[in-house]
Amino acid sequence: MTATDTHEHPDQRHAHPTDRQYVAVALVLAAITAGEVSVYYIKSLPHPLLIGLLCAMAFTKFTLVALWFMHLRFDSVIFRRLFVAGLALAAGVYLIFLTSLHVWE
Protein backbone atom coordinates (compact mmCIF):
# COMPACT_ATOMS: atom_id res chain seq x y z
CA MET A 1 0.00 0.00 0.00
CA THR A 2 1.33 3.45 -0.84
CA ALA A 3 1.51 6.31 1.61
CA THR A 4 -1.84 7.62 0.43
CA ASP A 5 -4.72 6.32 -1.64
CA THR A 6 -5.56 8.62 -4.50
CA HIS A 7 -9.11 8.99 -5.79
CA GLU A 8 -9.12 10.61 -9.17
CA HIS A 9 -11.98 12.62 -10.60
CA PRO A 10 -12.22 14.01 -14.09
CA ASP A 11 -10.77 17.40 -13.23
CA GLN A 12 -9.31 16.91 -9.80
CA ARG A 13 -6.96 14.77 -7.75
CA HIS A 14 -7.18 14.54 -3.96
CA ALA A 15 -5.06 12.40 -1.71
CA HIS A 16 -6.95 10.51 1.01
CA PRO A 17 -5.24 9.06 4.05
CA THR A 18 -5.02 5.29 4.26
CA ASP A 19 -6.62 3.27 7.06
CA ARG A 20 -3.15 2.80 8.50
CA GLN A 21 -2.66 6.56 8.70
CA TYR A 22 -6.01 6.96 10.47
CA VAL A 23 -4.96 4.33 13.01
CA ALA A 24 -1.63 6.12 13.51
CA VAL A 25 -3.46 9.40 14.23
CA ALA A 26 -5.76 7.58 16.69
CA LEU A 27 -2.73 6.13 18.49
CA VAL A 28 -1.24 9.61 18.83
CA LEU A 29 -4.58 10.86 20.20
CA ALA A 30 -4.68 8.01 22.72
CA ALA A 31 -1.10 8.75 23.80
CA ILE A 32 -1.90 12.43 24.30
CA THR A 33 -4.98 11.51 26.36
CA ALA A 34 -2.79 9.30 28.54
CA GLY A 35 -0.38 12.24 28.84
CA GLU A 36 -3.21 14.54 29.94
CA VAL A 37 -4.33 12.20 32.69
CA SER A 38 -0.73 11.64 33.83
CA VAL A 39 -0.08 15.39 34.05
CA TYR A 40 -3.28 15.79 36.09
CA TYR A 41 -1.83 13.50 38.78
CA ILE A 42 1.50 15.35 39.09
CA LYS A 43 0.61 17.38 42.16
CA SER A 44 3.97 19.17 42.31
CA LEU A 45 3.38 20.98 39.00
CA PRO A 46 2.82 24.74 39.35
CA HIS A 47 -0.81 25.65 38.55
CA PRO A 48 -0.03 27.86 35.51
CA LEU A 49 2.22 25.17 34.02
CA LEU A 50 -0.44 22.50 34.57
CA ILE A 51 -3.07 24.64 32.82
CA GLY A 52 -0.67 25.44 29.97
CA LEU A 53 0.24 21.79 29.41
CA LEU A 54 -3.38 20.60 29.52
CA CYS A 55 -4.54 23.33 27.13
CA ALA A 56 -1.67 22.60 24.71
CA MET A 57 -2.50 18.89 24.67
CA ALA A 58 -6.23 19.54 24.19
CA PHE A 59 -5.45 21.94 21.33
CA THR A 60 -3.23 19.32 19.68
CA LYS A 61 -5.97 16.67 19.92
CA PHE A 62 -8.61 19.08 18.61
CA THR A 63 -6.40 20.02 15.65
CA LEU A 64 -5.53 16.41 14.81
CA VAL A 65 -9.20 15.35 14.75
CA ALA A 66 -10.23 18.39 12.69
CA LEU A 67 -7.41 18.08 10.15
CA TRP A 68 -7.34 14.28 9.70
CA PHE A 69 -10.69 12.81 10.71
CA MET A 70 -12.79 15.79 9.55
CA HIS A 71 -10.58 16.05 6.46
CA LEU A 72 -9.97 19.79 6.80
CA ARG A 73 -6.40 19.12 5.73
CA PHE A 74 -7.56 17.70 2.41
CA ASP A 75 -10.87 19.46 1.73
CA SER A 76 -11.67 22.86 0.30
CA VAL A 77 -10.32 25.85 2.19
CA ILE A 78 -13.88 27.24 2.30
CA PHE A 79 -14.91 24.52 4.80
CA ARG A 80 -11.91 25.37 6.97
CA ARG A 81 -12.84 29.05 6.89
CA LEU A 82 -16.47 28.35 7.83
CA PHE A 83 -15.45 26.27 10.83
CA VAL A 84 -12.61 28.53 11.97
CA ALA A 85 -14.91 31.57 11.65
CA GLY A 86 -17.44 30.01 14.06
CA LEU A 87 -14.67 28.86 16.38
CA ALA A 88 -12.90 32.24 16.39
CA LEU A 89 -16.18 34.11 16.90
CA ALA A 90 -17.11 31.87 19.85
CA ALA A 91 -13.64 32.10 21.40
CA GLY A 92 -13.52 35.89 20.98
CA VAL A 93 -17.03 36.59 22.28
CA TYR A 94 -16.74 34.34 25.33
CA LEU A 95 -13.18 35.39 26.21
CA ILE A 96 -14.36 39.00 26.28
CA PHE A 97 -17.46 37.95 28.26
CA LEU A 98 -15.45 36.04 30.87
CA THR A 99 -12.74 38.69 31.10
CA SER A 100 -15.33 41.43 31.65
CA LEU A 101 -16.70 39.38 34.57
CA HIS A 102 -13.21 38.98 36.11
CA VAL A 103 -13.29 35.18 35.85
CA TRP A 104 -9.49 34.92 35.56
CA GLU A 105 -8.78 36.79 38.79
Partner: protein
Protein backbone atom coordinates in the same frame (compact mmCIF):
# COMPACT_ATOMS: atom_id res chain seq x y z
CA UNK B 1 -34.66 27.87 -15.29
CA UNK B 2 -31.49 26.00 -15.93
CA UNK B 3 -28.80 26.44 -13.33
CA UNK B 4 -25.46 27.81 -14.41
CA UNK B 5 -22.55 25.60 -13.51
CA UNK B 6 -19.05 26.87 -13.92
CA UNK B 7 -15.96 24.72 -13.67
CA UNK B 8 -14.00 25.53 -10.51
CA UNK B 9 -10.84 26.04 -12.49
CA UNK B 10 -12.56 28.78 -14.50
CA UNK B 11 -13.81 30.64 -11.42
CA UNK B 12 -10.65 30.26 -9.40
CA UNK B 13 -12.76 28.77 -6.62
CA UNK B 14 -11.68 25.65 -4.79
CA UNK B 15 -12.70 22.32 -6.22
CA UNK B 16 -15.29 19.99 -4.80
CA UNK B 17 -14.16 17.08 -2.70
CA UNK B 18 -16.25 15.09 -5.03
CA UNK B 19 -18.12 11.91 -4.30
CA UNK B 20 -21.81 12.29 -4.93
CA UNK B 21 -21.84 16.08 -4.82
CA UNK B 22 -24.24 17.88 -7.13
CA UNK B 23 -22.74 20.40 -9.51
CA UNK B 24 -22.88 23.86 -7.96
CA UNK B 25 -21.56 27.28 -8.92
CA UNK B 26 -18.86 27.00 -6.25
CA UNK B 27 -17.91 23.46 -7.15
CA UNK B 28 -18.67 22.49 -3.54
CA UNK B 29 -21.45 20.31 -2.19
CA UNK B 30 -24.21 22.49 -0.73
CA UNK B 31 -24.89 19.88 1.94
CA UNK B 32 -21.28 19.97 3.10
CA UNK B 33 -21.21 23.77 3.13
CA UNK B 34 -24.42 23.71 5.22
CA UNK B 35 -22.97 21.13 7.60
CA UNK B 36 -19.78 23.14 8.15
CA UNK B 37 -21.81 26.32 8.71
CA UNK B 38 -23.97 24.40 11.22
CA UNK B 39 -20.87 23.12 13.03
CA UNK B 40 -19.47 26.66 13.13
CA UNK B 41 -22.69 27.82 14.79
CA UNK B 42 -22.56 24.90 17.24
CA UNK B 43 -19.23 26.31 18.46
CA UNK B 44 -21.20 29.30 19.76
CA UNK B 45 -23.72 27.05 21.55
CA UNK B 46 -21.08 24.99 23.34
CA UNK B 47 -18.95 28.10 23.90
CA UNK B 48 -21.87 29.62 25.83
CA UNK B 49 -22.36 26.49 27.95
CA UNK B 50 -18.64 26.10 28.72
CA UNK B 51 -18.31 29.81 29.54
CA UNK B 52 -21.27 29.57 31.93
CA UNK B 53 -19.60 26.66 33.70
CA UNK B 54 -16.32 28.59 33.99
CA UNK B 55 -18.16 31.69 35.21
CA UNK B 56 -19.87 29.77 38.01
CA UNK B 57 -16.87 27.64 38.95
CA UNK B 58 -15.93 28.02 42.61
CA UNK B 59 -19.00 30.14 43.37
CA UNK B 60 -21.26 27.43 44.76
CA UNK B 61 -22.74 27.57 48.25
CA UNK B 62 -20.44 26.21 50.97
CA UNK B 63 -21.43 22.77 52.18
CA UNK B 64 -22.72 21.62 48.79
CA UNK B 65 -20.83 19.16 46.52
CA UNK B 66 -17.85 20.63 44.65
CA UNK B 67 -16.20 19.23 41.50
CA UNK B 68 -13.32 17.58 43.39
CA UNK B 69 -15.82 15.86 45.70
CA UNK B 70 -17.64 14.04 42.89
CA UNK B 71 -15.36 13.77 39.84
CA UNK B 72 -13.90 10.35 39.08
CA UNK B 73 -11.06 11.17 36.68
CA UNK B 74 -10.01 7.57 35.82
CA UNK B 75 -13.63 6.72 34.94
CA UNK B 76 -14.10 9.85 32.79
CA UNK B 77 -10.71 9.23 31.13
CA UNK B 78 -11.92 5.83 29.94
CA UNK B 79 -15.15 7.42 28.62
CA UNK B 80 -13.08 10.03 26.78
CA UNK B 81 -10.91 7.32 25.28
CA UNK B 82 -14.01 5.43 24.09
CA UNK B 83 -15.40 8.52 22.36
CA UNK B 84 -12.00 9.30 20.82
CA UNK B 85 -11.75 5.79 19.37
CA UNK B 86 -15.28 6.10 17.97
CA UNK B 87 -13.92 8.89 15.75
CA UNK B 88 -11.44 6.39 14.33
CA UNK B 89 -14.13 3.79 13.59
CA UNK B 90 -16.30 6.52 12.01
CA UNK B 91 -13.59 7.59 9.60
CA UNK B 92 -12.85 3.95 8.79
CA UNK B 93 -16.56 3.46 7.95
CA UNK B 94 -16.40 6.41 5.55
CA UNK B 95 -13.19 5.13 3.94
CA UNK B 96 -14.78 1.68 3.51
CA UNK B 97 -17.92 3.01 1.84
CA UNK B 98 -15.83 5.18 -0.48
CA UNK B 99 -14.05 1.97 -1.54
CA UNK B 100 -17.42 0.23 -2.06
CA UNK B 101 -16.76 -2.19 0.81
CA UNK B 102 -20.24 -2.22 2.29
CA UNK B 103 -19.93 -5.10 4.72
CA UNK B 104 -16.86 -3.50 6.29
CA UNK B 105 -18.57 -0.09 6.32
CA UNK B 106 -21.56 -1.55 8.20
CA UNK B 107 -19.23 -3.16 10.73
CA UNK B 108 -17.50 0.15 11.43
CA UNK B 109 -20.80 2.06 11.55
CA UNK B 110 -22.18 -0.39 14.10
CA UNK B 111 -18.95 -0.25 16.11
CA UNK B 112 -19.12 3.55 16.16
CA UNK B 113 -22.75 3.45 17.33
CA UNK B 114 -21.80 0.93 20.00
CA UNK B 115 -18.91 3.06 21.27
CA UNK B 116 -21.18 6.11 21.31
CA UNK B 117 -23.77 4.17 23.29
CA UNK B 118 -21.10 3.09 25.77
CA UNK B 119 -20.15 6.75 26.22
CA UNK B 120 -23.76 7.85 26.75
CA UNK B 121 -24.38 4.91 29.11
CA UNK B 122 -21.26 5.89 31.06
CA UNK B 123 -22.51 9.45 31.29
CA UNK B 124 -25.90 8.29 32.56
CA UNK B 125 -24.13 6.20 35.20
CA UNK B 126 -21.97 9.19 36.19
CA UNK B 127 -25.08 11.36 36.55
CA UNK B 128 -26.67 8.68 38.76
CA UNK B 129 -23.59 8.56 41.01
CA UNK B 130 -23.56 12.36 41.31
CA UNK B 131 -27.28 12.34 42.14
CA UNK B 132 -26.71 9.82 44.93
CA UNK B 133 -23.91 12.00 46.29
CA UNK B 134 -26.34 14.91 46.55
CA UNK B 135 -25.50 16.83 43.39
CA UNK B 136 -28.62 17.74 41.44
CA UNK B 137 -29.54 20.30 38.82
CA UNK B 138 -30.86 22.69 41.46
CA UNK B 139 -28.33 21.95 44.23
CA UNK B 140 -25.86 24.72 43.39
CA UNK B 141 -24.30 26.65 40.50
CA UNK B 142 -21.85 23.82 39.84
CA UNK B 143 -24.68 21.27 39.53
CA UNK B 144 -26.75 23.49 37.23
CA UNK B 145 -23.93 24.40 34.86
CA UNK B 146 -22.38 20.92 34.88
CA UNK B 147 -25.58 19.00 34.13
CA UNK B 148 -26.72 21.45 31.44
CA UNK B 149 -23.34 21.39 29.66
CA UNK B 150 -22.70 17.65 29.78
CA UNK B 151 -26.41 16.89 29.26
CA UNK B 152 -26.44 18.92 26.03
CA UNK B 153 -23.32 17.11 24.89
CA UNK B 154 -24.83 13.73 25.77
CA UNK B 155 -27.97 14.65 23.79
CA UNK B 156 -25.76 15.41 20.78
CA UNK B 157 -24.02 12.04 21.11
CA UNK B 158 -27.42 10.31 21.36
CA UNK B 159 -28.62 12.02 18.17
CA UNK B 160 -25.37 10.92 16.51
CA UNK B 161 -25.95 7.30 17.57
CA UNK B 162 -29.46 7.42 16.08
CA UNK B 163 -28.07 8.78 12.79
CA UNK B 164 -25.42 6.05 12.72
CA UNK B 165 -28.03 3.35 13.27
CA UNK B 166 -30.12 4.88 10.46
CA UNK B 167 -27.08 4.71 8.15
CA UNK B 168 -26.55 1.09 9.16
CA UNK B 169 -30.19 0.32 8.33
CA UNK B 170 -29.94 2.07 4.96
CA UNK B 171 -26.75 0.22 4.11
CA UNK B 172 -28.22 -3.14 5.16
CA UNK B 173 -31.13 -2.57 2.74
CA UNK B 174 -28.71 -1.63 -0.03
CA UNK B 175 -29.78 2.01 -0.08
CA UNK B 176 -26.36 3.45 0.71
CA UNK B 177 -24.27 2.93 -2.43
CA UNK B 178 -20.82 4.38 -2.95
CA UNK B 179 -22.39 7.34 -4.79
CA UNK B 180 -24.12 8.36 -1.55
CA UNK B 181 -20.93 8.26 0.52
CA UNK B 182 -21.36 11.96 1.20
CA UNK B 183 -24.30 11.11 3.52
CA UNK B 184 -21.89 9.08 5.65
CA UNK B 185 -19.36 11.91 5.45
CA UNK B 186 -21.92 14.43 6.77
CA UNK B 187 -22.86 12.23 9.72
CA UNK B 188 -19.14 11.67 10.26
CA UNK B 189 -18.48 15.43 10.42
CA UNK B 190 -21.20 15.77 13.07
CA UNK B 191 -19.75 12.83 14.99
CA UNK B 192 -16.18 14.18 14.95
CA UNK B 193 -17.46 17.57 16.05
CA UNK B 194 -19.12 15.97 19.08
CA UNK B 195 -15.75 14.35 19.77
CA UNK B 196 -13.75 17.60 19.58
CA UNK B 197 -16.27 19.31 21.88
CA UNK B 198 -15.67 16.54 24.42
CA UNK B 199 -11.90 17.05 24.09
CA UNK B 200 -12.44 20.65 25.25
CA UNK B 201 -14.94 19.68 27.98
CA UNK B 202 -12.68 16.94 29.35
CA UNK B 203 -9.79 19.38 29.74
CA UNK B 204 -11.58 22.52 30.90
CA UNK B 205 -14.24 20.93 33.09
CA UNK B 206 -12.65 17.77 34.46
CA UNK B 207 -8.87 18.12 34.38
CA UNK B 208 -8.16 21.79 35.13
CA UNK B 209 -8.71 22.19 38.86
CA UNK B 210 -10.72 25.15 40.12
Amino acid sequence: MASVTTAPAATGLPESHGDGAHATSTGLSNAKVAMWAFLGSECLLFGALISTYLLYRGRSLPGTPRPRDVYDIPYTSVSSFVLLMSSLTMVLALAAIQRDEHHRARTWLLTTALLGSVFVGGQAYEFTVFYREGLRLQTNLFGSSFFVLTGFHGAHVTIGVLMLLSLFGLSARGRLPKERAETVELVGLYWHFVDVVWIVIFTLIYLIPS
